[in-house]
Point group: C2
Chain length 346, copies 2
């Protein structure tokens, strides 16, 4: 099917494909929810385009389709979890869910996940906290993709990081970035669309600038945003995921794109803050609104019609997809069809 | 005195000047330690160059020189503190000190400070945690200085953020940034040196590009790094400091440069993570070393001799200043002399 999707129907379809590949129903539903929601927010690089690759990894033995996360250590406000080589999305949802459940009488809490895999868009887990009135942080390492400042080889992951904070009139502030100039998924989409890219996004594997997004399939090296700043934030995420979570770190994380049969050993970390231990949840949400409104009042540079608060574009797109249906890019359509075919072979 | 300073003697001198202005001895020593240590690390924009301005604010009534921070709310792993209109550096040191003291049996903890002022270099407080084997985060809002992506007015602070994580062979990874393309202090130093700046660092107050750093004294608008990414990180810090800490937020924070008589109402937030609740402090520090060494092995682009880990340059400069003495830039010398003269008038 091409054209507009009903979001709920698409979730059902994605979950059915995942289940067909041996993923337990609850986990398949979690994957469908995270991927389709991400498409609804317009982040197609991290939406259903990813499903076929998850199935490739399961087929190749790199991801176990039906494992339960194991709690390795626990305290009243912390969890150290192993995803036991399973899928990243359900493991992350379970870890963040367990953490949020601990938060009512805690000012701050933390959960780490090791031995995991690609967890989709970081912001989805941060929103699990914001939807309960908490501030949420979410981060993950990835296989080496980004050159440190001054380097010409992929030494560190592009290490996505997100936070979300609830508003009152406004749903939430939501910010979700990776540390490279652009997300790997954007390169994938450019490659599928046959487009060239700006020459300062990536280096070839031997350190030369290039405008060919297909280099992403040949060990391209991504450059960090704002040079040492992006590099430093990538190192922060590596600290919290690889180093702290006792997961794979740096070259110990394996690419699910180029090595689908390898255990990725990805790490995630989640932090939740409870405003009740400060000015209270209600005051916090009201103040978030005030911050948003002050940002919206900012006059714009020529050619820009309004200042957006972080997440505003995503909420507009999500509302539009719910009301008018969701349009997927060609690359997502193609990968979704490939996922359906792959699932048939399980 | 011009030329090289003995670091210890310079701290004594800075503390004596601060004390002369009515700052209690312990707080004066804290200020001297933070400012001189920052110069030793080569971050002259946040070193002793700032002292005279602190005294200007005290003289103008904008900062109270001798207040004690007040704990407004407390839990086993959290503190909500008011600096009660006092100096930022001693308030931040006390809040982070109290938080670190809570951490032995906690996986994660948080302290916020409101009604504070400029707290110097964010990284100094993150290092208080790293020096005890913990991961430390430190952040502060500032008066509006930065345009949000698409905006042409200063709507949000440049909101410094730092983290530090301890190593074993290596002292620590230390990362300390603001969200504008450059720190305001760098503009001050360029202005004092009579230098021009790249045209994409700031806008004039009416939204025009400029290469004149003196515009910083005329309500210049700083641009965020990496457009929406720097903007989003600035909003994150504003969330944790202004919104959560119940301090001034956005335009509610007042410039200590242009309005020394105004209560700045700055907010700070600190987070500490204890690796004992994950793989253990020893394993963590060893893994930090491994991460550092993997970064150091990365081959470099032409013209760069080595990849540096975050903080490496600062540790080299600090060791050099301890061994060979500290050289201050002319602007710092001048402001230090002005501070000494100002202190005489108290």
């Amino acid at each position: 099917m091409k054209g507009k999707y009903c979001c709920g129907e698409l979730k059902t379809r994605v979950a059915a494909i995942a289940a067909k590949a041996g993923i337990p129903a609850q986990d398949a539903a979690a994957i469908a929810d995270v991927l389709v929601t991400t498409d609804m927010r317009g982040i197609h690089s991290h939406g259903v385009v990813r499903l076929a690759r998850y199935l490739d990894c399961i087929k190749a033995g790199g991801i176990k389709p039906a494992t339960e996360p194991v709690v390795l250590k626990e305290s009243p406000n912390s969890l150290m979890v192993s995803a036991a080589g399973g899928l990243g999305i359900p493991a992350a949802m379970k870890a963040m869910g367990m953490l949020v459940a601990k938060m009512e009488n805690q000012a701050i809490g933390i959960a780490t996940v090791n031995h995991s895999d690609h967890y989709g868009a970081a912001g989805c887990y941060a929103m699990m906290a914001a939807d309960r009135g908490y501030v949420g942080f979410s981060m993950s390492n990835t296989c080496p993709l980004v050159a440190p400042a001054g380097g010409r080889a992929a030494a560190i992951g592009n290490n996505p990081f997100a936070y979300a904070a609830p508003g009152k009139k406004y749903r939430a502030v939501l910010f979700d970035v990776c540390m490279s100039k652009v997300a790997a998924g954007k390169l994938v989409i450019a490659a599928e669309a046959g487009k060239r890219i700006p020459a300062d996004w990536i280096l070839t594997r031997d350190g030369r600038p290039t405008d060919d997004p297909n280099e992403i399939w040949h060990d391209a090296v991504m450059l960090p945003f704002a040079e040492h700043k992006g590099y430093g934030f990538a190192a922060m995420v590596e600290m919290m995921t690889g180093v702290l979570a006792m997961s794979g770190m740096m070259s110990g994380v394996h690419s699910w794109n180029t090595q689908p049969g390898r255990d990725a050993d990805t790490g995630h970390a989640f932090i939740v803050v409870n405003p009740e231990f400060f000015g209270g949840k209600d005051a916090f949400a009201g103040r978030t609104d005030a911050m948003i409104e002050e940002l919206k009042r900012c006059p714009t540079v020529e050619g820009v019609s309004e200042v957006l608060y972080p997440g505003e574009l995503e909420w507009r797109r999500e509302a539009d997809a719910l009301t008018n249906g969701l349009t997927l890019p060609a690359a997502s359509e193609k990968e979704l069809e490939r996922a359906a075919l792959t699932a048939e072979t399980f």
